[in-house]
């Protein structure tokens, strides 16, 4: 039941245009470091790397070949980081993703020969999601902090991997399974049309929203501006590719997964409630939201995404080393933090997380290209994460003072 009758609506609109004159679009905020910092950082890094490679006379960094390569390298981490963003938004935390991914990979490799590829994938995903449910249940029903619980399960699940593999590498022997794994992971797809279509849709939606707020005299929303820019970038990418944009299958999975999560978070009731649950879980509960369900679902999603990443990882290598993916959870969390996700819940964007993951992998990639040696890499990555966090924190304080 809405209380707004037609006459009231017109009144509302006229009021809105009055207030709009008093409150113009805050361009400074939309393009400020707080909102856009991670994109600036990514662009800056790409620019610097391009300059250096050009100067050194190496192969152009900005080639489609290299860019798609970076995206491919980041795809597993990105999938986990997108799910990590969701769990961080609900105010929880999951350190166990890399261990869960490794276990899923081990389960897949260990069973694929005997039961076939797809049943083994189903089993691996089930194991992963069950672990997510376990994590979530301990956190929500026993009431232990998620950091501690998943610190424990991270170690315990890694132990399970060792027990399951008996400390040795497992590999797939069956040629049929190997072929299926190749098809599942290593296929190449021309996504030119997809990118063009996505670019046009974003551009159209964004421009539509801009025109709408212009005509009704309201201030522009950051989301509208962001959609326009995103559309332009996608179209530029398509243009630069010259009609053929071939990416590996994991990139497609990552793109689809990110798009679905982004859509759910941004445009659905479920997404709104996820933010509310993280922003103030008691207020959400007293507004009639089943907080427990959303928090549990986030754990299951996070472990499910980890399981899927593990399946891709196993399919890529067609074998699993019990120490595989060790430490990946830190990269995953770093990507989410670089994307401005709040560790206290209630705020975060999967697109920015994606940019954060790309930033980290561009750094790695740049180190490789420039032959700078891996010794420096950890130091630089660490500094980047802390500087990003500092910018978000200081940016937030500045905003609070401004009001």
């Amino acid at each position: 039941m809405t209380m707004a009758s037609d006459t009231q609506m017109t009144q509302t609109q006229s009021r809105a245009s009055q207030t709009a004159t008093a409150k113009p679009t805050n361009w400074k905020r939309i393009f400020g470091l707080r909102e856009m910092g991670v994109y600036y950082a990514l662009l800056l890094l790409i620019f610097v790397l391009t300059m250096i490679t050009t100067y050194l006379g190496q192969e152009n960094y900005l080639s489609i070949q290299n860019l798609t390569n970076v995206i491919y390298q980041s795809s597993l981490t990105s999938i986990m980081a997108v799910a990590m963003t969701v769990i961080l938004i609900t105010g929880n935390f999951d350190l166990s993703v890399a261990s869960v991914a490794a276990l899923a990979a081990a389960v897949l490799v260990g069973n694929a020969d005997a039961m076939g590829f797809w049943p083994a994938v189903a089993l691996a995903m089930t194991v992963a999601m069950a672990l997510g449910l376990l994590n979530g249940s301990i956190v929500q029903f026993v009431g232990i902090n998620a950091f501690i619980v998943t610190l424990g399960t991270m170690t315990a699940v890694r132990g399970l991997v060792l027990i399951y593999t008996d400390g040795r590498s497992l590999s797939v022997k069956d040629p049929g399974v190997i072929a299926q794994m190749k098809a599942f992971e290593s296929g190449k797809n021309d996504v030119f049309l997809l990118v063009v279509a996505a670019g046009i849709v974003c551009l159209a939606l964004g421009i539509g929203s801009v025109i709408k707020s212009r005509s009704s005299g309201k201030s522009l929303r950051p989301a509208a501006v962001g959609t326009v820019i995103g559309g332009v970038i996608l179209l530029l990418l398509a243009l630069a590719s010259g009609g053929e944009l071939v990416v590996r299958t994991p990139v497609v999975y990552m793109g689809i997964f990110t798009a679905v999560v982004w859509f759910v978070l941004s445009f659905t009731m479920v997404g709104r409630r996820i933010y509310a649950v993280g922003g103030n879980s008691e207020a959400a509960r007293l507004s009639g939201i089943n907080v427990l369900r959303y928090k549990l679902m986030a754990f299951v999603l996070c472990s499910g995404a980890a399981g899927f990443a593990g399946v891709l990882f196993a399919s890529r290598l067609r074998s699993i080393n019990p120490a595989g993916l060790t430490g990946a959870e830190l990269t995953v969390i770093a990507a989410a933090i670089l994307g401005g996700t709040s560790l206290f819940g209630g705020a975060g964007s999967v697109i920015k997380t994606l940019a954060g993951a790309l930033l980290l992998f561009s750094l790695t990639n740049g180190f490789n290209i420039l032959n700078l040696g891996a010794n420096w890499q950890g130091l630089i990555e660490g500094i980047v994460v802390v500087v990003a966090a500092a910018i978000y924190t200081v940016g937030n304080q500045g905003r609070a003072k401004g009001h």
Binding site: A4, R221, T268, A276, A283, R285, G402
Partner: protein, 517 residues
């Protein structure tokens, strides 16, 4: 020993916040050593802002502050403290994991944690206020009253000459209050300290203070010696003409059409272990039930049990004859809305805009295909709520954490105005908000009742209940001890009942246990 020149003088101190809210419009205040100066005012009148300016937490945006005749400008609580101003805030910020001793000397600059010299100073402090807490007890284990006393020791420990006390007795039991009063008298009369005593309780202001300043809407509307005043005078100064409107609102009320079909709400033996004794109740459509009780009497627990927010609660809640499942989601679906006591902690998502908070319980109403919320429609709803409830906000895009108490409260109420809510549960809806907003909310409650909605309202301010309710339940120690028709009771009787001295020998179990912590 009495000095005539004040230790602290405020001249036309004003404060305007960045978002345009004017909290103080030029306040003059003289605080004299050896006197207790009472500061009164409705919530939102500017008391808290004034205290924060005195304690260095805020900077005044206009006017001058003189300390011992010298103009001063503090930019941090530490600076104020060093000059000799100590503030005891309402929400006593002790470190719960440290001992009493360590809390008392939290601000001192010595290098060692457990210096024996601080123990000696602690004993001296205790001697001065004639109160001896266990120095090694953890602050987190203390009762509210004990913590209040520790804060007083803390303030004294800084060697302050002016002690600002922000509602020190607000959540204390009677004997704990007496202790605070005795300490205040001791400090002002014997030690010649100046004390600024902020309170809501007129009787304690009359009994304790020497001078009084009353703030209203950011201005000092009354400055006088306490001996020249009486409680009625104070009450008039605090509320201004608004109280007349409240009374008018009370007169305009028509009783509910009783005995019409199934009751809107029926409680059958609703109880919760250790918190709520079984309550059975039947409420008609359009009826307003007031729940009178002190803090810890089980009044909020009753509301939460009805709403299904208390997982341990047992018993049946029937809405329009239908038994409700015990979950908040089921209650919201059935048409119950809860406005909780702690509005920022329980009622609102602080980082959400007004519009996203408003539509949270009823997203379906603004969504396409029952799943995609339409932000444009939500913002229109925000505009409408702002207009309907006169929320002071320039647009629905303002974050709720930037709103003042009264306006934030209106948002928590407005959350429930856009769906088919049949039963409103309001837990202290008028606490901490200014009298204008208070009147608005009480009027709104009567309007809702007029539309056939049922309202259960909890309040510590019994005259409010008398103004707005049809029937009043009195709660104490988790029990519903009395039910009164509003025409047959008085504020006096309600106070006695809730405070534990039932005049007609009703259900007084003589435990004498004060409102719990």
């Amino acid at each position: 020993m009495e000095k005539t020149s004040p230790i602290m003088t405020l001249r036309s101190v004003a404060k305007t916040f960045g978002n345009g809210t004017v909290a103080l419009r030029g306040v003059d205040l003289d605080i004299v050593q050896g006197k207790v100066h009472g500061l009164l005012g409705a919530n939102g009148a500017g008391k808290s802002t004034l205290i924060k300016i005195l304690s260095g937490a805020f900077k005044a945006s206009g006017g001058t502050i003189s300390w011992r005749g010298q103009p001063v400008s503090w930019d941090s609580p530490k600076a104020a403290n060093d000059m000799g101003v100590a503030t005891i805030h309402q929400h006593i910020p002790l470190v719960p994991t440290l001992s009493v001793l360590e809390n008392v000397f939290l601000g001192s600059t010595g290098a060692w944690r457990l210096a024996s010299v601080s123990r000696k100073r602690f004993d001296e402090l205790c001697e001065r206020v004639r109160y001896w807490p266990d120095p090694d007890a953890l602050a987190g284990d203390l009762s509210i009253g004990e913590r209040q006393m520790v804060s007083i020791l803390q303030a004294l420990g800084t060697g302050a000459d002016l002690i600002v006390m922000d509602e020190p007795t607000a959540s204390l039991a009677t004997d704990e209050r007496e202790l605070v009063y005795a300490t205040v008298r001791q400090l002002s009369k014997v030690e010649n300290k100046a004390i600024l005593f902020v309170s809501h309780f007129l009787d304690e202001v009359m009994a304790l203070t020497d001078q009084v300043t009353v703030l209203r809407d950011g201005e000092a509307v009354l400055r006088a010696e306490t001996s020249t005043l009486d409680e009625t005078r104070l009450a008039e100064a605090i509320v201004g003409k608004q109280i007349v409107e409240l009374e008018r609102a009370a007169e305009a009320r028509i009783g509910p059409s009783a005995a019409s079909g199934t009751p809107r709400l029926e409680l059958r033996g609703l109880s919760s272990p250790d918190k709520l004794m079984p309550v059975s109740l039947s409420v008609a459509k359009g009826e307003v039930i007031g729940v009178a009780g002190l803090l810890g009497s089980g009044r909020s627990e009753l509301i939460h049990a009805i709403f299904g927010a208390d997982k341990d609660a047992v018993g049946d809640v029937l809405l329009d004859g239908q038994t409700l499942a015990r979950s908040t989601a089921a209650s919201v679906r059935a048409g119950i809305g809860l406005v909780p006591e702690d509005r920022m902690g329980q009622g609102l998502v602080p980082e959400f805009e007004i519009w996203r908070n408003l539509t949270l319980p009823a997203l379906q109403g603004v969504s396409a295909f029952n799943m995609l919320p339409q932000p444009e429609r939500e913002r229109e709803r925000g505009e409408e709520a702002i207009r309907m409830l006169s929320i002071k906000a320039s647009s629905p895009d303002i974050l709720v954490r930037e709103l003042s108490g009264g306006n934030a409260q209106k948002v928590t109420i407005a959350k429930w105005m856009f769906s088919d809510v049949k039963l409103f549960l309001l837990d202290e809806p008028t606490a901490g908000i200014d009298i204008g907003a208070k009147t608005d909310i009480l009027r709104l409650i009567r309007k809702l009742a007029g539309e056939g909605k049922t309202v259960i309202i909890v309040s510590s301010e019994f005259e409010e209940l008398l103004a707005v309710a049809d029937r009043i339940l009195v709660m104490r120690d988790g029990k519903c001890i009395a039910e009164r028709n509003v025409h047959e009771t008085s504020e006096h009787e309600l106070l006695l009942l809730a405070g534990g001295q039932g005049p007609k020998g009703q259900a007084v179990n003589g435990s004498g246990k004060a409102a719990g912590h």
